[in-house]
């Protein structure tokens, strides 16, 4: 019962979604609209579950005084500060429990939540991903070595695209006459993206779609049950 009933629910919801695609009239249209609205609400609780789990995991590390526990404490403190400022005084447009906090806004210049977003969250988020530029430069220097015909093909395409997607690349071949415009780097780069790249990506898309259709069918029919977890 504890495992079979959820499987029946999964089958019924999956079946309803598929049927409503082919019979978009009542009662299926009403049922699918209702299901989709409920999905939004349940997803919200799923995210809440994830956040509580994260909170619990960090708290456990702090309690057990694991190596580097003070960093997790910093994480929890920043979590609590952001959460409290957001709930008490709201965000840019949303009103919080204590209203819009106009006095605080005049002191800080914006709501505390938005202040933290602009001066803490945004720089952290943007800088975290900008580190990758350095690593890709290092990878280009150490790992991008020509060894075979296939890697040659990869390298030549990469060079054409890297040059073609810059203003310098367009300058390099701007002298080409009209009948040789195909070899103008930006045009060549666009040709590669439109035809051979699209062909390969399309092949990957079609193959992945077949896999997804197969695995979705397995889930709906109850053959795939790993999402239910262990026997409890």
């Amino acid at each position: 019962m504890k495992r079979n009933l959820p499987l029946i629910f999964a089958f019924l919801t999956g079946f309803l979604v598929v049927i409503s695609e082919f019979i978009p009239h009542r009662p299926f249209s009403l049922m699918i609209s209702t299901l989709q609205n409920w999905f939004l609400i349940i997803s919200g609780f799923a995210i809440l579950l994830g956040q509580i789990s994260l909170f619990q995991a960090n708290l456990a590390k702090i309690k057990q005084k694991e190596s580097g526990w003070y960093f997790y404490l910093a994480g929890l403190i920043s979590f609590m500060i952001m959460l409290l400022t957001g709930l008490l005084w709201g965000t840019q447009e949303y009103k919080g429990i204590l209203g819009h906090g106009t006095h605080l806004q005049s002191l800080v210049g914006s709501k505390p939540f938005d202040y933290l977003f602009d001066f803490a969250y945004m720089p952290l988020s943007a800088t975290m991903f900008s580190l990758l530029a350095f690593f890709i430069a290092s990878a280009a220097y150490r790992a991008f070595i020509i060894r075979s015909f296939e890697s040659n093909l990869l390298m030549i395409t990469a060079v054409i695209v890297i040059l073609g997607r810059t203003s310098f690349g367009s300058m390099l071949t701007s002298w080409l006459p009209e009948n040789l415009r195909f070899w103008h780097l930006p045009n060549l780069s666009d040709f590669i993206m439109e035809f051979p790249n699209s062909a390969a990506q399309r092949a990957i898309m079609i193959s992945a779609a077949l896999g997804i259709i197969g695995s979705s069918l397995r889930i709906i029919l109850g053959i795939e049950r790993s999402y239910l977890g262990g026997d409890k």
């Binding site: 249209s29 939004l40 977003f117 530029a133 280009a140 699209s198």
Partner: protein, 276 residues
């Protein structure tokens, strides 16, 4: 140990050279020009040919980590939509997208002081569940968005009086850096309800989305990366934040090619030495 130290030193030199190569063009701009590609032109064409007073959706499906590439696109496309007198419904499938939408609007509205919130632009906020949200919008938008970001009821928003489903939307423009994003808009908005879709994405995601720009017109053009943002700025006759960064982008690309060349020469010499 010493080869490790040598390798670490090499890495740090590579990092430093890259830093200098990207900083110098920012300090001393070169002024290289950008050519416009077919994909950017297609996206521009969709927005340009959409009739006056049409309601359009701008979905801000990204976070600050990719705003360098996507925010200039968002601002340029929003500017274009406003200049064509289109009414923009902003929403977000990523939570941070709400703030990105507000920032883009705050910047662009300075050029259009007569545009009013609720009449020409509205921010409906963040909705979870990606493709399910878009599918629900296809059936009943007021149900998905009971209120806008400011708490105004859907029925009380002037520009949305005649907009009940995605079929009442002229086009959907998704600025996305991952999932949910353009792919979900193509699948649910275009392929299910026939709403034209265009969009902008990070350069990383662009190659994988290009197959949707096809004879079936699943995607009407695609802006991929900072260069595409710069191309769009060129098309609308603006020198925006993307265009000023292209010099640094070009120099960095050249540097990467130099690194690849040096790496290959080094590997070739090592192979030759080991054979000898």
């Amino acid at each position: 140990m010493s080869s490790n130290t040598h390798s670490q030193t090499e890495r740090h030199i590579v990092f430093l050279v890259l830093l200098v190569a990207v900083t110098l063009p920012l300090l001393f701009p070169i002024g290289w020009k950008t050519e416009v590609s077919g994909y950017a032109r297609m996206a521009w064409q969709l927005i340009d040919s959409t009739p006056d007073s049409s309601v359009v959706v701008f979905s801000f499906d990204y976070d600050p980590s990719t705003m360098t590439e996507l925010q200039p696109m968002a601002e340029a496309m929003l500017y274009h939509a406003f200049s064509r007198n289109q009414k923009v419904l902003a929403m977000a499938l990523w939570p941070q997208g709400v703030q990105m939408a507000d920032q883009a609007y705050a910047k662009v509205i300075k050029s259009f002081p007569d545009k009013k919130y609720g009449v020409d632009f509205v921010n409906m906020g963040y909705k979870i569940a990606g493709i399910v949200t878009i599918q629900s919008m296809g059936k009943n938008m007021p149900e998905v968005f009971p209120t806008d970001e400011r708490g105004t009821k859907y029925a009380d928003i002037p520009m949305l009086k005649n907009v009940k489903t995605l079929k009442d939307i002229a086009y959907a423009n998704s600025l996305s850096s991952g999932t949910p994003g353009i792919k979900e808009w193509v699948m649910a908005a275009h392929d299910a309800y026939g709403t034209p879709v265009t969009g902008g994405t990070t350069a990383v995601s662009a190659p994988g989305l290009l197959p949707y720009v096809n004879s079936q017109r699943q995607l009407n053009g695609l802006l991929g990366g900072l260069k595409a943002a710069s191309e769009y700025e060129n098309l609308i006759g603006q020198i925006g934040s993307a265009t000023v960064k292209m010099d640094a982008q070009s120099v960095a690309h050249l540097l990467i090619l130099v690194f690849i060349a040096i790496g290959n020469v080094k590997a070739f010499l090592v192979r030759k030495r080991s054979k000898a």
